[in-house]
């Protein structure tokens, strides 16, 4: 009976490895009585995973698919470092993953008045853990609530993560894993952003008081076209090459910096070009010689030579990021930006639109090895680790951590704009919540 619980995970191996039937029954009884719905998922779960126990170091550690679930030397140090993510604890705490169980115990010790919401990412992995670890102490604690990641839509705070389980999540838990990974990477993303853009902001300081700002554009443009037309945002994803752009007649076009050259090559002069790119390579795809009829919306992070040489009108925009604090701008000069130029481009489109914003080339994934539209001349660093996710057609496509994080922030932005219809003309890109696909 016990062995049949592990049919997906090489039964003989689990028994040889000392996975314990009595332990399993004791832990399982508590889960059955307190969370019968979750138990139903656990009981029926079966996956072809490789299970091992590493007994070569100080502590035995469970290994699933070559991934250790916790330290083989010192779980106390490991848990202490994971707990550093906890900030402003007042009330409930969200614990994503369990590891050896020490993380949950330490939360109970440190925060005796809090409810600890423990989120599991893979019922089969949890089943194996139930047969390996003495967890009855915390499983019967009234302060513990167990949840399945598949029904958790967003990352609740304050949070702490046992990260090995993110790598072992099942498919239905993947959306939450992506959101957590974005949270885990946020400090590094900010560090890189400040390091990369600060020199350009310094170099652009003399321009900040000279150039008009976004608020002036919106005031000037107000009577002419704001709210009169649909607006199409054009990103530089590979699907841009496959879209018939004749549908853009009579629409306002807002494009991102990396899509400008592609559009010019196809005979389209976008009304607005949003640019944030700090690197000098932006000059390769923001071809200023062809910029007479397009208005540039530039962040002070943009390479200074592009701003200086742009032939059409130029307005400055900013974001709420602390790197802009102390500069001379107002709330109306701010566009949403979470790292990708597609963010302020979409926000500008919303500010200009009649309530409908169309998306083209906003893919957040690759087409084979192709990362951008043909003429954009932009590219991603070769060292990006590829990740597979489903596109809007349900096909598995390659993407990477940075693109996934940009997509999640677009979804959050879209969620904050309930009165705007977002429509994508291509199903080649990642499926974005809140977007209608045509």
């Amino acid at each position: 009976m016990f062995a049949s619980q592990f049919e997906g995970g090489k039964v003989q191996q689990t028994c040889e490895l000392g996975i314990n039937e009595r332990l399993f029954e004791k832990n399982a009884t508590l889960v059955v009585s307190r969370w019968p719905d979750i138990w139903a998922q656990i009981e029926s779960s079966s996956e072809p995973r490789t299970l091992e126990v590493d007994t070569t170091h100080t502590l035995p550690a469970l290994i699933i698919d070559n991934i250790h679930l916790h330290s083989c030397f010192d779980t106390h140090t490991e848990v202490s470092q994971q707990l550093e993510h906890l900030k402003n604890v007042k009330g409930d705490i969200y614990c994503y993953g369990v590891g050896s169980g020490e993380l949950v115990r330490e939360l109970l010790r440190r925060y005796p008045d809090s409810t600890i919401h423990v989120v599991i990412f893979n019922p089969f992995v949890f089943k194996v853990q139930l047969a390996m670890y003495h967890w009855s102490d915390w499983l019967q604690d009234e302060a513990i609530q167990l949840h399945s990641a598949a029904v958790v839509n967003d990352v609740n705070t304050p949070w702490v993560v046992a990260p090995a389980e993110l790598a072992l999540a099942n498919e239905s838990s993947q959306p939450l894993v992506d959101k957590l990974q974005l949270e885990l990477n946020t400090d590094e993303i900010n560090r890189q952003y400040v390091k990369n853009v600060s020199p350009n902001i310094d170099a652009n300081l003399p321009l900040i008081d000279k150039l008009p700002k976004l608020s002036q554009l919106l005031a000037d443009a107000g009577n002419r076209f704001i709210g009169n037309k649909e607006v199409t945002v054009i990103g530089a994803g590979p699907s841009l090459d496959n879209v018939d752009l004749s549908c853009l007649n009579d629409q306002l076009i807002v494009c991102v910096d990396a899509a400008f050259k592609s559009l010019i090559h196809r005979g389209i002069e976008p009304h607005f070009v949003v640019a944030i790119d700090f690197s000098e390579k932006v000059e390769r795809f923001l071809t200023v010689e062809q910029s007479h009829h397009s208005t540039l919306i530039a962040f002070p992070t943009l390479c200074p030579s592009v701003i200086e040489r742009w032939q059409g009108p130029c307005y400055l925009a900013f974001s709420h990021h602390p790197v802009f604090h102390g500069l001379n701008f107002g709330e109306q000069d701010i566009l949403f930006n979470a790292g990708s130029v597609i963010h302020p481009a979409i926000d500008l489109a919303v500010k200009l639109s009649n309530g409908t914003v169309n998306l083209i080339g906003a893919d957040f994934c690759f087409e084979g090895t192709k990362t951008h539209a043909a003429a954009s001349d932009a590219s991603f660093a070769d060292d990006q680790t590829l990740i597979q996710r489903k596109n809007a057609r349900g096909e598995l496509v390659n993407t990477c951590a940075s693109l996934l994080s940009y997509a999640l922030d677009v979804e959050r932005y879209i969620q904050s704009q309930p009165d705007v219809n977002f429509v994508s003309v291509s199903q080649q890109g990642l499926s974005l919540a809140g977007v209608r696909y045509e």
Partner: protein, 85 residues
């Protein structure tokens, strides 16, 4: 880079592994050999340790990677420093 700086950066790498901060891990791992330049010595023990670290990285076994750095690689670096004095 001196051994003290290398150890500090390796400890930061191990901590990022334990905390699941993959972007930091990826950036630091790409500089691993640079971090170890001037410290690493020839020998089977070093090679075995570095192989375990690279294998753990490739299989996304980040907690084991952290263990290998903190409990094998750094003690080996400290041993070299003591012997070199």
């Amino acid at each position: 880079m001196n051994s003290s700086d290398s150890i500090t950066q390796l400890q930061t790498l191990a901590k990022s592994c334990r905390r699941g901060e993959l972007m930091t891990v990826q950036l630091t791992m790409s500089r691993l050999h640079e971090l170890l330049s001037g410290v690493i010595k020839d020998g089977e023990q070093w090679l075995a340790c570095l192989t375990r670290i690279e294998t753990a990285y490739k299989s996304s076994d980040y907690l084991y990677l952290a263990d290998m750095i903190d409990y094998q690689l750094i003690p080996q670096i400290q041993e070299v420093v003591v012997n070199d004095r």
